[in-house]
């Protein structure tokens, strides 16, 4: 297992190198002049030139690339001009916020979508199947920012059930010192139940927004995959042997239908990270997506490069995990791999 793990890891290295080169080049061909932007409203051409030299932007592109890679090797991703902080620090601060939101959203989506998909497959053509179809269509066709604003309008503005959309915590709640950066986990570790409650309340609406978006692909894939497994011979045999319907469906059929669902989960997770950008904007969530967008608008190279790199590493790790999971769930995959 270890050797296959290492082999799998080695294949990720070329893609990471590719990502580094491509993001570097892409950020350089972006329109906009960083120096002019940061020289401020009243800058003279000399002042802009001064800033250009200060930022090292007067050097040729290959020279800049060597500087960048040199710093990268030492773990230095440069500094963001929009936030004024080192990029690595920004990512450490913000990635957990995004990850917490995405994972929580994904968790809700799985909790709703998988049972719904299974039921839809088992009772094909029934009202629950139609419900499944409606949910899937609605989830896919509503843009995330729209669902987000709608939920804020209904649950915060009209009903007043949800807390103010002001980010991860209520304004007057004080966060525990970051241990993992995941607020929920930190609160539990410190035993600060009041803050935990506040954090969960803040998390509810944005993660529901993401969950609505993620429901569709998961339900559809669960349903399709269950349908094909349910019509297979071993299920028929299991039924014929008089096993309880629950045992047949969950114990045999679903376990065999899980592979495509897991693959979809990996994809959905990456979609969600993208959708996050909009959700973070709507809920003032201090995540990595809104950070990258702001940097992009300001032609601030370092955070954009740092963001893409962080995302690339996350995808590599995620795909690795999914590959390993395949092996755990279905031994046949492991042998073939």
């Amino acid at each position: 297992m270890l050797s296959s793990f290492l082999r799998r890891l080695a294949t990720a290295i070329p893609s990471l190198i590719g990502v580094i080169i491509v993001t570097f080049l892409l950020t350089r061909v972006l329109p906009g002049d960083t120096a002019a932007y940061f020289a401020g409203p009243a800058a003279t051409p000399e002042a802009i030139e001064e800033i250009r030299v200060k930022l090292g932007l007067d050097k040729s592109i290959p020279e800049q690339f060597v500087d960048y890679v040199g710093a990268l090797v030492q773990g230095d991703l440069g500094s963001s001009l929009t936030t004024g902080q080192p990029v690595i620090q920004d990512i450490i601060d913000r990635l957990p916020a995004s990850a917490e939101l995405t994972l929580f959203g994904l968790f809700i989506a799985i909790a709703v979508a998988v049972p719904l998909g299974i039921l839809a497959a088992v009772r094909q053509g029934s009202w629950i199947d139609h419900l499944c179809r409606i949910v899937a269509t609605a989830g896919v066709s509503l843009p995330v920012f729209f669902t987000g604003l709608l939920l804020v309008y209904v649950f915060y503005y009209i009903l007043g059930w949800a807390p103010a959309p002001l980010g991860r915590l209520d304004v007057f709640a004080f966060p525990p010192d970051p241990i993992t950066g995941f607020l929920l986990i930190d609160c539990v570790l410190v035993g600060d139940w009041e803050t935990l409650g506040s954090a969960l309340a803040q998390l509810a609406v944005p993660s529901a927004t993401l969950a609505i978006f993620a429901l569709a692909p998961i339900t559809r894939i669960t349903r399709a995959s269950m349908l094909s497994v349910l019509s297979s011979e071993f299920v028929r045999t299991a039924r014929a042997s008089g096993l309880s319907p629950f045992k047949v469906i969950v114990g045999y059929a679903f376990r065999n239908a899980m592979l495509p669902v897991i693959t979809t989960l990996g994809m959905v997770f990456s979609f969600l990270l993208g959708a996050n950008v909009l959700v973070e904007k709507v809920f003032a969530w201090p995540g990595i997506g809104s950070y990258a967008v702001e940097a992009l608008i300001a032609s601030d190279y370092a955070p954009v490069q740092g963001f893409v790199l962080a995302m690339a590493i996350m995808y590599v790790v995620l795909n690795l995990l999914i590959d390993l999971l395949y092996g755990v769930i279905d031994p046949r995959v492991r042998i073939e791999g």
């Binding site: 503005y157 959309p165 139940w193 969960l200």
Partner: protein, 541 residues
């Protein structure tokens, strides 16, 4: 780990997570008290640097600097256009200085003996000298702003004794004293910052970027960039009466709709960058206290590049000035929240003031006639560019302009330029037709004209307008103001305003408003030249 184990642990984990969701929600009484003594501000953007002397500090950063640092002098308040307290351009009051004595070629400031920085060290003349030296030396915007008041060299700032500083004038300039009351010449705790200075960073900019080191009424206690800034009152502040609010919490909420929802639900106390449409609607609802004040010395305008045809022809420019849909812009784009700068009656005398309305109004027949006279009876094609960073205003505005110009035969293509790119494009001075805003901190007509119309061709002279006659009048007004020659000054100002309207390289549309929305229990808002908030006067009932 084998497959069975994995599946078992996965299902146990799911059960644990499922039951763990229900959490107690207790609101502690301490939180309710904190709410009473704190002000929650929500805005679209937050600071990127806590020090205005830093590289590329953005406008929200100026607000932090204004409230966390003191200057030698500040402005008195007067009653503004809408009854709101408005800074008095001509009256100064001491802040860190207790006395100011302006001589012919220098000004002497006596410092308060009891003033202390936020870490408890007393404020001395050495701190003042170091801070002013810093402002003229760091380069970029702060140095540029100091230069606007002829404050250029470190030897202009002289320590007389521990509590006395003299500022020598390079030349006579009316703007020198006002320039000492803007945000830039703030007094920094030099001993503290020097400890953090390095050879690469002799002015300690890296330290003050993250920390406030002033003697001002507030200090930053927590700053998470892009998320929130928390400021607390400096209890030993000596620069004025003790501020009412103990804590300011400034949260960044990018979505305008949510900022409005937060205000209307009563969760946020104050917001000041809402779109005009929301603001106009909230005004009708009447639930919140809303204040609109016109930008001092600022206008939104249409600029035409006079170096290239067809806009090198004054008749074409006048034709455009008669073809703009002024009132429609005020109504449909600004929802009435702007002060018109057009359509003055033909017999209105020119005033010694800026901005003031010009005499053009929408008259398409006149525009067509002028265009024909200029030799373009069938019009021409051009591009109209705007900054996407302010798309909320610029986009509908440009569409109205495009539609109106089409009626006199001028076909325009709209060119949307991303915020990051806008300045680069402005500096190139190649865009034929643009809309833009300019506003100056120092509210003097000659200041505006020096940047926007003078032949020195600064970035803000976006039209590349150059006229020896204009330059002579602007320079004349500056000299007359420095020497106190009111007659000559007034004549020059009136003349350059007349010439600017006659030649119309830039067509003023309106004076934008600063729109502030507050809960009814928030009081003490003051309008300042920098248009940001002064927390010191705010209070919550």
């Amino acid at each position: 780990m084998n497959r069975r184990d994995f599946l078992k642990t996965a299902s146990t984990a799911a059960v644990v997570a499922g039951t763990g969701v229900a959490a107690p929600s207790i609101i502690s009484p301490a939180r309710a008290d904190a709410r009473q003594e704190s002000l929650l501000i929500v805005s679209e953007n937050g600071p990127n640097n806590l020090d205005i002397h830093g590289v590329g500090t953005n406008v929200p950063g100026y607000e932090v600097s204004w409230n966390c640092y003191d200057r030698l002098i500040s402005h008195e308040m007067k009653s503004g256009p809408n009854g709101v307290p408005y800074y008095d351009r001509d009256k100064f009051k001491p802040e860190l200085a207790e006395d100011m004595n302006v001589g012919d070629m220098s000004a002497t400031f006596k410092l308060r003996k009891d003033a202390v920085f936020q870490d408890g060290t007393p404020v001395t003349a050495a701190d003042v000298k170091w801070s002013l030296d810093r402002a003229v030396s760091v380069g970029g915007f702060p140095t540029f702003q100091m230069k606007a008041g002829s404050l250029e060299q470190t030897d202009q700032f002289v320590v007389v004794d521990d509590h006395t500083v003299r500022v020598d004038f390079l030349r006579k300039d009316r703007l020198t004293i006002p320039d000492l009351a803007v945000i830039v010449p703030c007094i920094v705790n030099s001993q503290l910052v020097k400890k953090h200075a390095t050879a690469d960073d002799p002015w300690g900019l890296e330290y003050t970027k993250q920390n406030t080191a002033g003697s001002g009424a507030y200090k930053v206690v927590r700053w998470r960039s892009g998320t929130e800034v928390v400021l607390e009152r400096h209890e030993d502040w000596k620069g004025g009466p003790k501020p009412a609010l103990k804590r300011i919490i400034w949260r960044i909420v990018p979505s305008a709709g949510n900022r409005r929802a937060l205000l209307e639900r009563g969760d946020a106390d104050l917001s000041f960058d809402l779109p005009s449409k929301d603001f106009a609607e909230m005004k009708q609802d009447g639930k919140l206290s809303l204040v609109s004040t016109p930008y001092s010395n600022g206008i939104q305008y249409i600029g035409m590049n006079v170096t290239q045809p067809p806009f090198d022809n004054v008749k074409v420019r006048q034709a455009v000035a008669y073809a703009l849909p002024y009132q429609k812009i005020i109504d449909a784009v600004m929802f009435g929240l702007a002060k018109p700068m057009f359509g003055a009656a033909a017999d209105t005398p020119t005033e010694v003031a800026w901005p003031q309305p010009h005499k053009y109004f929408t008259d398409l027949d006149k525009a067509r006639a002028l265009l024909a006279e200029a030799g373009y009876p069938n019009g021409f094609e051009t591009t109209l560019s705007f900054n996407l960073g302010f798309a909320g205003v610029n986009e509908p505005l440009c569409i109205l302009v495009q539609e109106s110009l089409a009626q006199i035969g001028i076909k325009t293509t709209i060119n949307k330029i991303p915020g990051a790119n806008w300045r680069t494009e402005l500096i190139k001075k190649e865009m034929p037709l643009i809309t833009n805003v300019f506003s100056g901190w120092l509210d003097y007509p000659e200041y505006f004209f020096f940047w926007c119309y003078h032949g020195q061709n600064a970035v803000f002279n976006t039209m590349s307008y150059q006229s020896p006659e204009m330059d002579a009048m602007i320079d004349g007004a500056r000299a007359a103001a420095a020497n106190g020659d009111t007659m000559a000054y007034e004549k020059d100002v009136k003349d350059f305003v007349d010439l600017a309207f006659e030649e119309v390289p830039r067509i003023p549309l309106y004076q934008p408003y600063v729109n502030v929305a507050m809960q009814p229990n928030v009081s003490g808002y003051q309008y300042w030249f920098h248009r940001r908030l002064d927390y010191r006067s705010l209070a919550k009932a």
